[in-house]
């Protein structure tokens, strides 16, 4: 896995830039990651989504889907599109330092 420097810290990422080590993530790093994808500021609402995603990943071993964030985390899909425009599933996992959601073929 390649190593890169984000916000002055060395972290492991995959070939699409997603963090591969759960414990290398921090809230400061999340701000840098968010800025990389055009989210200038992490609000309370962003942080709530991130906190759910990270806690759920720790328990389940996989990144929650949009449906799971709304059904279990209680954050409506519409809100997720406002917080992480256009590609919420990808963007929220990227900022949370989690693997991107499983795709298809």
């Amino acid at each position: 896995m390649p190593v890169t420097t984000i916000g002055g810290r060395e972290v492991h990422i995959d070939d699409e830039g997603f963090l591969t080590e759960y414990d290398e993530w921090s809230e400061d790093l999340a701000k840098e990651l968010a800025a990389n994808i055009g989210i200038p500021e992490l609000t309370e609402d962003h942080l709530r989504v991130i906190a759910f995603l990270r806690a759920d990943y720790k328990e389940q071993g996989e990144t929650a889907t949009l449906r799971r964030v709304s059904a279990v985390g209680g954050i409506p899909t519409k809100t997720l599109f406002q917080l992480f425009p256009k590609k919420p599933a990808r963007k929220m996992s990227y900022v949370s330092g989690l693997p991107k959601p499983a795709g298809c073929i």
Binding site: T65, R67, K78, K86, C104
Partner: protein, 412 residues
């Protein structure tokens, strides 16, 4: 006397019964299957019904024909699974007790979960082909259609047979060409994924297929509601796609009884160990086929490979031995691409679809990630194989684990 109860007598449940009955002594084990439907559907055949390639007769047989001898069959709706008590309640109140339970209740479409999708237009300007009634209504509608905007939309992943929507659009392109109508039909593929093919090597080989066939692609489209009066799809980020005929792949969910019984995740799929299908909650409950929350395709071919691994593991588990065989998520799917050609993909949890030959390295007869006539024949042969080999539990000459032999591991 021990009792194994199998919930669902579809593809996976039937294969489990066929594999286990000969391996469990009749004097020690009673096996019971429960299903609510008298008919067994060959679901892959639903794809061909709208285009008049198959008739309904091709895809239905009585379930009773496939219940192995020595297996008890109860036709009833399962109302509740009380896994803490090792028992299942049926809709008529009957209680069925078990020592081991295999959940194989599959997944079905839920148009009711999307606002505006299920209503008076369903079966008129809105169609599905994931059920037999849906596919039949669509066949009628397509036959008399004079053209316009045909839009195919996948509401949300996961869906069973994730390649079926692509096959539908390829077949629609060929069908309207043959009818001399292609210039009057605009085809659009609307998906929540970021492309038609999301894995890099498959995308490299197949990415242009939609473009070559003149199909518009609308990626990253996450449907919020359907406006069936204005005939348009509206996404969560307020994009709109207009249609004259909508082909929907509605949300796929596991059976409601799974949710009611507290055994499912938010989609009513049963969380299991992806290597051996044992429930994460109960040590005597397994889930196989589409009902399980495995991170691989929900497909009959996957269920087939999975049941082979399951069988060996189950026989060890009941003896108190550790389970050995590990399922790798092997999936093998033919993709019908129109005009008598098809594609084939072979992959697992860790390895994306690669080009090459299958099943014999260098020989085939099937070619991976390329359109060939032989691949089309493979798809057509699958119906015979399904009814006569798979459901009977007969061994196919294919290894259950995915092999790299014959594949070309290339750089993107």
């Amino acid at each position: 006397m021990k009792r194994l109860v199998i919930l669902g007598a579809g593809t996976a449940g039937t294969m489990v019964a066929a594999k286990l009955r000969p391996r469990l002594a009749a004097s020690d084990w009673k096996i019971t299957m429960i299903d609510q439907e008298p008919t067994h559907y060959y679901q892959p055949g639903f794809l061909f019904i709208p285009f008049g390639i198959y008739t309904p007769d091709d895809v239905v047989k009585p379930k009773a024909d496939f219940i192995p001898s020595g297996v008890e069959y109860i036709e009833a709706e399962i109302d509740l699974i009380e896994a803490g008590e090792n028992q299942v309640k049926l809709a008529d109140g009957t209680v069925v007790e078990y020592d081991y339970l295999v959940i194989a209740t599959g997944t079905s479409i839920r148009p009711d979960e999307t606002p505006g999708l299920e209503g008076p237009e369903y079966g008129k300007t809105i169609h599905d082909f994931y059920t037999l009634p849906g596919a039949k209504a669509l066949a009628e509608a397509i036959r008399f259609w004079e053209g316009g905007k045909l839009v195919l939309n996948i509401v949300e992943m996961p869906i069973k047979c994730p390649v079926a929507p692509l096959e539908f659009i390829f077949l629609a392109d060929a069908y309207f060409q043959d009818k001399g109508l292609r210039d009057k039909v605009e085809l659009t593929y609307v998906t929540p994924l970021d492309g038609a093919f999301t894995k890099p090597i498959a995308a490299k080989h197949l990415g242009n297929l939609l473009e070559d066939k003149g199909v518009n692609l609308e990626p990253d489209f996450y449907l919020e509601r359907v406006d069936s009066d204005e005939k348009k799809l509206v996404s969560y980020d307020e994009r709109e796609v207009e249609y004259d005929m909508l082909i929907t792949i509605p949300l796929n969910m596991g059976a409601d009884v799974i949710g009611r019984s507290g055994l499912g995740n938010e989609g009513n799929f049963v969380p299991v160990d992806s290597k051996n299908f044992l429930s994460k909650q109960f040590d005597n409950v397994f889930a196989v086929g589409d009902a399980a929350d495995l991170p691989t395709s929900k497909a009959g071919s996957v269920a087939h490979f999975a049941v082979e691994v399951f069988t060996e593991n189950f026989l060890r588990h009941i003896e108190g031995l550790p389970m050995l065989e590990e399922f790798d998520g092997h999936a093998n799917c033919f993709i019908e691409s129109g005009h008598g050609k098809g594609l084939l993909i072979d992959f697992n949890y860790d390895t994306e679809p690669l080009p090459g030959k299958y099943p014999l390295p260098g020989i085939g007869p099937f070619t991976l990630l390329r359109e060939t006539e032989m691949n089309h024949w493979g798809k057509m042969m699958f119906k015979w194989t399904y009814w006569n080999m798979l459901l009977r539990g007969k061994p196919l000459p294919l290894p259950h684990e995915m092999l790299m032999a014959g594949k070309i591991d290339e750089e993107v």
